[in-house]
């Protein structure tokens, strides 16, 4: 008797599901170390395509695109995290107020509308107000769609922090700003870091919206990769994809670990209290 929780075949499907999710990425990771110029004939282990990414004929294009991607992700994540933190404080600590449901819907809007619709709308909007598409328009679009991704972990964290901490601070004559910056902000920190990292990856990964609002001549890493793939799959694409893949997984893992540690400290503080 294996209990009512067990259904025959479910375990196999779950493991198969993980296999399906990871297999393509693992295969590309393996083939990125292929020494052969052919895509699929194995020519022994080699780092030549990684070297090619940095020194090959597309190196300059990829370098520029990487620079754009990283600077945009850095700025978009920073700005959207600040905006989302302010919004989370108001939404979670503000009690009931008029327009709360509407604000909630507004924050979640970027998650509900299909990306391609946002992409078209943003491009048409920039063109109508006469703002030339390029670095700035990409940055503005990224800040906007990163807000909900930064908001989710921050507000989840804030909901887990009882109001008594700030109240105690205020009772001991802390100013409102002191109660926020000395008490609430350190408690929120794991949520904020986690939100920042998620916003960073979302910005780094975005293709569809960027592709519409970037204008001619400007590239981010995903649009540069897409351009190359359209010319035909080449081994250097496997190498650069693997690098981007590793960066994303590293960031998500970091975000996950910080969030988990944060939850543990919150529980311990709760036990002590």
């Amino acid at each position: 008797m294996k209990g009512v929780r067990h259904y025959p075949g479910f375990t196999a499907i779950a493991l198969g599901c993980l296999l399906v999710l990871y297999a393509p990425m693992i295969v590309v990771g393996i083939y990125s170390f292929n020494g052969s110029t052919s895509l699929t004939t194995w020519g022994g282990f080699s780092l030549r395509w990684y070297a090619d990414v940095f020194t090959g004929e597309e190196a300059e294009r990829f370098g520029m695109a990487t620079w754009n991607s990283l600077t945009i992700a850095f700025m978009a994540a920073t700005v959207s995290t600040v905006i989302a933190t302010a919004a989370a404080v108001a939404m979670v600590r503000g009690g009931r107020f008029r327009g709360k449901a509407g604000t909630f819907a507004l924050i979640n809007l970027p998650l509900m509308v299909p990306e391609i619709v946002i992409a078209v709308a943003t491009l048409i909007f920039f063109s109508t107000i006469g703002l030339e598409t390029g670095y700035l328009t990409v940055l503005i679009a990224h800040v906007t769609f990163c807000i909900p991704f930064a908001y989710l972990p921050i507000s989840a964290r804030l909901q887990g922090i009882e109001g008594t901490y700030e109240q105690a601070a205020r009772d001991l004559y802390a100013s409102r700003w002191q109660a926020f910056s000395l008490i609430l902000l350190p408690l929120m920190a794991p949520g904020i870091v986690s939100g920042y990292l998620l916003a960073f990856i979302i910005s780094l990964d975005d293709f569809i919206i960027t592709n519409f609002v970037k204008g001619a001549g400007m590239e981010t890493l995903p649009t540069a990769i897409f351009g190359s793939v359209k010319q035909g799959l080449k081994p250097n694409i496997m190498a650069i994809s693997t690098m981007l893949l590793v960066v994303s997984i590293l960031f998500v893992t970091l975000s996950y670990l910080i969030n988990r540690r944060g939850q543990k400290t919150l529980v311990q503080q709760g036990d002590r209290a």
């Binding site: 929780r5 259904y7 599901c17 590309v28 895509l39 509900m112 990306e115 619709v117 799959l233």
Partner: protein
Amino acid sequence: MAARRPGERSLLVPLLLPTWAMIGVFMVLPVGVMALYSFLTREFRGGVDWTFSLSAYDQFFFDRGLFGDEAPRLQWAYISIFWRSIWQAVIATVLCLLVGFPTAWFIATRPARSRGVWLFLITVPYWVNLLIRTVSLRFLLRDTGPLNQGLMSLGLVDAPLPVVNTNLAVQLGLFYSYLPFMVLPIYAAVERYNFALSEAAADLYASRWTTLREIVLPLVKPGIVAGCLLVFVPSLGAFLAPDLLGGAKTFMIGSLIDEQIKGSQGNWPFGAAVAVILMTLVLIALVAYARSVTRERSA
């Protein structure tokens, strides 16, 4: 909830203003402008003429013949692209459900300590660049790709299975892209499920599958519906999977919009109209979902 001190409400507006401004000005307003655009006249050099016209919608739905004198007939070219997109999204959703439910169930029945790790493993692919994941899938499925080579060297097939550039490849691509969206809400629902109900059913001689059908499924239905919505909506407007895995025969809404807005033969009012129609479909799905949730709660 902490007691409110006087004066704290005055902070609400400055705290929320940046969010309202950014999303309001750079997302809500643009969607409005796009809707307006869809009612404008196309100018020949890709721009628009600011005169009201229904020609974009007319072009979408009707065929007026060469000189426009004939009575309008429904024109199927664009409607069939929508129909195909809906169909592809439905198949992807069903595939995700068939795999996602057992997976979510499996995770929810693990010991509490290891559940976090399983969930993490399911979410990681979501955060990996969708473009790279789709390219990887194309590489894996190619005629000369590792999958076909493996099958051929094992002697299971004589010639490569032609998967890339078919509807099946697009369906697999959508399934692969959005699978985590199905698992997570179902997991959340199964985790709240009280397994004592299953034990009670077993005591009353119900088989496992009867219990699943009669007791578990009705109780976790909200999670299933949410998961289906989260897979269906992005699949409907997907661009990368049909573009990179499909061919000319698998043209979907996303590619149509892209072609009209970015292509050299583009027509912005028409592209905007297609986007508006897509958004309307999504809204219908969302409203239907919201109504099913409220009905569930009031029942």
